[in-house]
Amino acid sequence: MAFMDFFRKKNSGEVAKDRLKLLLISDRANCSPEIMEAIKNDIIKVITKYMEIDSEGLDIQITQTESEGGHGSVPVLCANIPVKDMRTRS
């Protein structure tokens, strides 16, 4: 059975759900890829003033998270910034 599962294609229901989740994130954020790219470049500019980062590996995206007040989910801007060297570049 596990062997069969390995070759099994993902159910179309799951595919639909995953596609929708990604779609709604960009719909809700009302944020074009160009703007996201601009934000990313600005973040790189600021951070590199203080530490050396891997700008190729930097990834930013808008996702949803539970709000602290417990009133549904709120959007969050997540940035994953790999740091190469913590020392300030002089």
Binding site: N11, G13, A16, L20, K21, L24, D27, R28, G72
Partner: protein, 261 residues
């Protein structure tokens, strides 16, 4: 005091008009005084689903333009004495009415009726704005499809921006056999994605097509969809009892699942 409910979806063809007809008829069956207003000007449909198409004299635009009194335009349903329909105009377009006129019209109907149901046109333009202008709450109809859910999400955002205090979700045309085989999103999936409360799910049922053919809503009959619509009506009325909804829901879905497995 009457409650004004808009039935909306964004996407067309998901079952807004059918839902309006069934929820309206179901509420009337439970002795509520109900008026259904078709706000889809230019594409009149609620009258045929209700089987009242041969009795139209005046319409929504006639009332708004002062060609007749509201009472003259309301069609009384012979099967249910508490049920009325205000049909839309077929030969005009959405611009014939504006949101202020809708608010004024509904103000006049308030007090006369327990429930005022507004059948919203597809889209998010003028017709949508007219339909939601006077609404207290919304029933959002969607089907378990990517396109319908995406549009529903947009509608939820617009309703929030327009201060509609409560929105509930109806998942329409669900096929439990496909959900179980993993080829259709479940009610839970849809609720998780849209993050609003679900007030009911209606199975994809032949009886809905048959009922629409005959111009007689299937709410309250022995079919699965008829039962589902009746449960939705109970939940619409029972909003002061917060836990009842969940109980009824689980009971119903338990039965639904058993029937399909």
């Amino acid at each position: 005091m009457s409650e004004v409910i808009v039935i909306t979806s964004g996407k067309g063809g998901v079952g807004k008009t059918t839902t309006t007809a069934n929820v309206g008829t179901g509420l009337a069956k439970m002795d509520q005084k109900v008026v259904l207003i078709d706000t889809d000007i230019g594409l009149r449909n609620l009258d045929v689903v209700m089987g009242l198409e041969n009795r139209i004299v005046y319409n929504l635009v006639d009332v708004v333009e002062g060609n007749c009194r509201i009472k003259q335009a309301l069609i009384k349903d012979k099967r249910y004495p508490n049920l009325y329909l205000l049909p839309s105009a077929q030969t005009r377009d959405k611009t014939a009415v504006n949101p202020e006129q809708m608010i004024k019209l509904i103000e006049e109907l308030k007090g006369e009726f327990d429930y005022i149901l507004l059948d919203c046109p597809a889209g998010i333009e003028q017709g949508f704005k007219n339909a939601i202008a006077a609404a207290d709450r919304a029933l959002i109809v969607t089907t378990p499809e990517v396109s319908a859910i995406r549009d529903a999400d947009r509608i939820i955002g617009l309703l929030e921006a327009n201060d509609i205090r409560r929105s509930d979700l109806i998942v329409n045309r669900i096929r439990m056999d496909m959900v179980e085989s993993g080829n259709m999103m479940s009610m839970d999936d849809v609720v998780e994605i849209l993050a609003i409360d679900m007030i009911g799910a209606v199975p994809d049922d032949e009886s809905v097509v048959i009922a629409t053919n005959q111009g007689e809503p299937c709410v309250g009959d022995s079919s699965l969809a008829g039962q589902a619509y009746m449960n939705i009506c109970r939940r619409v009325m029972g909003e002061e009892v917060p836990f009842l909804e969940l109980k009824v829901k689980s009971g119903f879905f338990g039965k639904l699942k058993k029937l399909f497995t």
